[in-house]
């Protein structure tokens, strides 16, 4: 069986779907963040796959590297925010953090 672009896309779609599923279903904010990481990585797979099978040169790989750096920074900031949320609300359950509604 020859591995082609579609297989990569299927893998990334599955990964994206797990990410979404995690964001939507998990109550724990940390788990939501992990879902976001999954989505970012699904995007990375798409970038690289399109770079491999498309005619973009190495732009895709470069873009994936940017995303990884960005994801690291984002994770750091998000975890810092989470820590502050935890300090304020003594919970990281996203259902309970709904003050904006009021």
């Amino acid at each position: 069986m020859n591995v082609g672009l579609n297989h990569f896309l299927i893998v990334s779609t599955i990964l994206f779907s797990f990410g979404i599923f995690g964001i939507v279903t998990r109550k724990n904010a940390v788990m939501v963040l992990m879902g976001i990481e999954l989505i970012l990585n699904a995007a990375n797979i798409n970038f690289v796959a399109f770079a491999r099978y498309g005619s973009f040169g190495y732009n895709g790989q470069v873009m994936a590297l940017f995303v990884i750096v960005l994801a690291a920074a984002e994770a750091a900031i998000a975890l810092a925010i989470l820590l502050n949320i935890y300090k304020t609300f003594t919970t990281v359950n996203v259902d309970e953090i709904d003050r904006m509604k009021e």
Binding site: V32, M100, K101
Partner: protein, 689 residues
């Protein structure tokens, strides 16, 4: 003495009483002795009038002095105001100022103690001014203005004791009844003005004799003349507008003497005399008939009245009827003579009655008087002389004029066949003598009916007696003619007063009034046909004898009835009850007018009020209701439909808000789910791949 000096004199005479009036009415409260001023101005006016009349009648006897100036210019029409001095106007002004002066002097004593003393004299001054204006005017416009002014002063003086309801009512009645006549006069003046574009007498008359007629026909001229005569009907209290004069006796007695006996009521006669030259035969005949009715009806009423002033009032109407009838039959000069003689003796009678009334402490009912001859000797003698004059007994002035009128009427009847006029005239002579002597016997001769009042009766002060003596002296023949049986012998008729030449076309005048042959008539004097001159000459002696018999039998009957009581008056009244009641109730004129005109007017007003209330107000109210209904509708529309839509939009938004609020959970995860579902849906909808 030139003509212009005479005119200036006339203007001074005209304005003297006005000055007195203005000072008295505006400064009456500050100046205490306004009545002295009034008497002085009228006295001065009288002296000047006497001088003016003397000058005019000696040096300018054949001249008509006219002075006019243009008052208003409108396009081609110019309105002239001016003075006319001819013989009848100067004689008239002499009479007016003389009677006015006498009444002023009398009033000083009579009205003493009245709280409106000053105002009374102011009104008298206003009246004298207005009357002078009527006499001197040379045009219809001024005539009309002063005509209304005398009406006004008459109204003010009748209602002088306005606190008395009957007096203020009488004033209103006089004013309104006079208005009815004046409307006619105004229309007549308008017709003449539209035809001739001028108000001046001489221009109008010369145009009429030039053949210009209103509406181009003789009928037009007749109508114009009769309309002008309507003014005289009102002012001279002629049938059928005579009802105001008896009520006018509510005014002070000197006023009755001056205005409602001697001068103002004679203004109507003067007016007819002024326009005599333009009256057609038809108009004159109607005037004669109205005069005859006015002479006869009030004379019968006067028979049964018990109020001393009412008797004299009806007698005044009757005598004015004589004058009007006399003018109507063409006996112009005798009408004017009677106007003057009547002014003197009737003023004397009224002032005498005032003296009696004051002596009897304001009792006017003659059945409650009696025996006053001894208590009031001067009043009695003067009253008797004036009554003899009124009855037409020889040696008095009344005999001259009355005889002339009756002769003229008889001559007229013998030429035209209207015999009812002299019959009425002669029966009035009988009635007049009878009711005057009934009055005298009941007042002065018979036994006192009220002993208490009789005891307290006393002769009036000198200021009241002297006027009586003056006026009764003027009721004698000597002032008018040297021959007591022949009025023509005096200068009054032979030189001063001439029937004016008739200006109406020949086919419209009386047959016996010839037109002048060119060059023959020197003073614009009428030329009667030979038959008429003969008839008048022939009628003179029989008329004199018959009228004398009538007057004497009237006096004799009065003595039989009331002095010697040969006939029981009450039984006689019972016997002829319908006639008695007819006379006693004044022929029911007031009742008829009340039932017809007054009730008719009130009914019409009611109808109009009903129309206003129901129809006009109904329409207004109806439209109001419609508007209200429409407003209700549009209000409801606003409230229900428009507001409903707005409210519905709000409500709907609210519902939507309620629905969509559910989505706003504040939970990021829910939002993400929605976002993802939305994206999926959008992808399916738009199918980008």
């Amino acid at each position: 003495m030139t003509e212009s000096t005479l005119i200036k004199l006339a203007i001074v005479i005209l304005f003297l009483p006005l000055i007195g009036f203005i000072i008295a009415i505006f400064f009456g409260k500050k100046v205490k002795y306004t009545y002295v001023l009034e008497v002085l101005t009228v006295g001065a006016a009288f002296i000047l009038s006497a001088f003016l009349a003397y000058e005019k009648l000696t040096n300018f006897v054949d001249r008509e002095i006219i002075s006019e100036f243009t008052w208003i210019n409108i396009g081609s029409v110019s309105i002239q105001l001016g003075m006319l001095l001819d013989n009848i106007s100067v004689i008239m002004i002499f009479t007016v100022t003389l009677v006015s002066l006498v009444v002023h002097v009398y009033s000083v004593a009579y009205m003493k103690g009245d709280k409106l003393y000053g105002r009374y004299f102011a009104y008298l001054g206003l009246f004298t001014f207005s009357m002078t204006g009527i006499v001197f005017t040379h045009n219809f416009l001024m005539m009309y203005i002063f005509w209304e002014l005398v009406g006004l002063s008459s109204y003010l003086l009748i209602g002088f004791w306005f606190e008395k309801k009957s007096a203020s009512d009488a004033g209103k009645k006089a004013f309104i009844v006079n208005r009815i006549g004046d409307i006619g006069m105004f229309l007549g003046i308008l017709i003449l003005f539209l035809t001739y574009n001028t108000f001046s007498f001489d221009t109008i008359f010369s145009q009429i004799s030039g053949g210009v007629l209103p509406f181009g026909t003789e009928t037009g001229l007749t109508i114009a003349g009769l309309l002008i005569f309507c003014g005289a009907i009102g002012k001279s209290a002629q049938f059928p507008l005579h009802v105001w004069l008896p009520d006018a006796m509510e005014g002070p007695t000197p006023v009755s003497a001056l205005i409602h006996a001697a001068t103002m009521v004679a203004a109507g006669v003067y007016l007819v005399a002024r326009v005599f030259t333009m009256l057609t035969g038809d108009a004159l005949l109607i005037i004669a008939i109205i005069g005859g009715l006015s002479a006869f009806i009030p004379a019968t009423i006067a028979l049964t009245q018990n109020d001393i002033k009412k008797v004299l009032a009806y007698s005044t109407i009757s005598q004015l009827g004589y004058m009007i009838m006399s003018l109507g039959v063409g006996a112009y000069v005798f009408a004017f003579l009677h106007l003057i003689t009547h002014a003197f003796f009737k003023a004397c009678l009224f002032l005498g009655s005032g003296s009696v009334i004051q002596a009897m402490h304001h009792e006017q009912d003659i059945t409650k008087m009696g025996g006053l001859r001894k208590k009031l000797p001067f009043t009695y003698v003067t009253f008797l002389v004036a009554s003899l004059a009124l009855s037409g007994i020889p040696l008095t002035s009344g005999f001259l004029s009355k005889d002339g009128i009756l002769a003229g009427t008889t001559a007229f009847a013998s030429l035209t066949g209207h015999w009812l006029l002299p019959v009425a005239g002669f029966s009035v002579a009988l009635l007049t003598a009878f009711y005057m002597f009934r009055l005298i016997i009941l007042t002065f001769h018979s036994a006192p009916a009220d002993q208490h009042k009789y005891e307290h009766a006393h002769e009036s002060p000198k200021l009241m007696v002297i006027p009586l003596i003056v006026l009764s002296a003027l009721s004698l023949f000597i002032w008018f003619t040297p021959n007591p049986l022949n009025p023509d012998a005096g200068a009054f008729l032979s030189k001063w007063v001439k029937t004016p030449e008739i200006s109406v076309p020949e086919n419209a005048r009386y047959d016996f009034m010839n037109s002048a042959v060119a060059g023959e008539s020197s003073h614009h004097e009428i030329i009667y046909s030979e038959e008429y001159t003969e008839a008048l000459h022939g009628a003179h002696v029989p008329a004199m004898i018959i009228s004398l018999i009538m007057a004497l039998s009237g006096i004799g009957l009065a003595f039989l009835f009331y002095q010697y009581k040969k006939v029981n008056v009450d039984k006689l009244a019972e016997k002829f009850k319908p006639l008695y009641k007819l006379s006693y109730n004044k022929w029911y004129f007031d009742e008829i007018y009340q039932a017809s005109f007054v009730a008719g007017t009130i009914g019409l007003s009611r109808l109009l009020a009903w129309f206003d209330n129901k129809i006009i107000d109904g329409i207004v109210n109806g439209s109001a209701t419609v508007t209200k209904w429409f407003s209700n509708f549009s209000g409801t529309f606003d409230n229900v439909i428009v507001d409903g839509i707005v409210n519905f939009v709000a409500y709907f938004s609210g519902i939507l808000g309620l629905v969509f609020r559910k989505f706003q959970t504040g939970k990021v995860q829910t939002y993400i789910v929605f976002v993802i579902f939305s994206i999926v849906i959008l992808l399916f909808l738009f199918k980008p791949f």
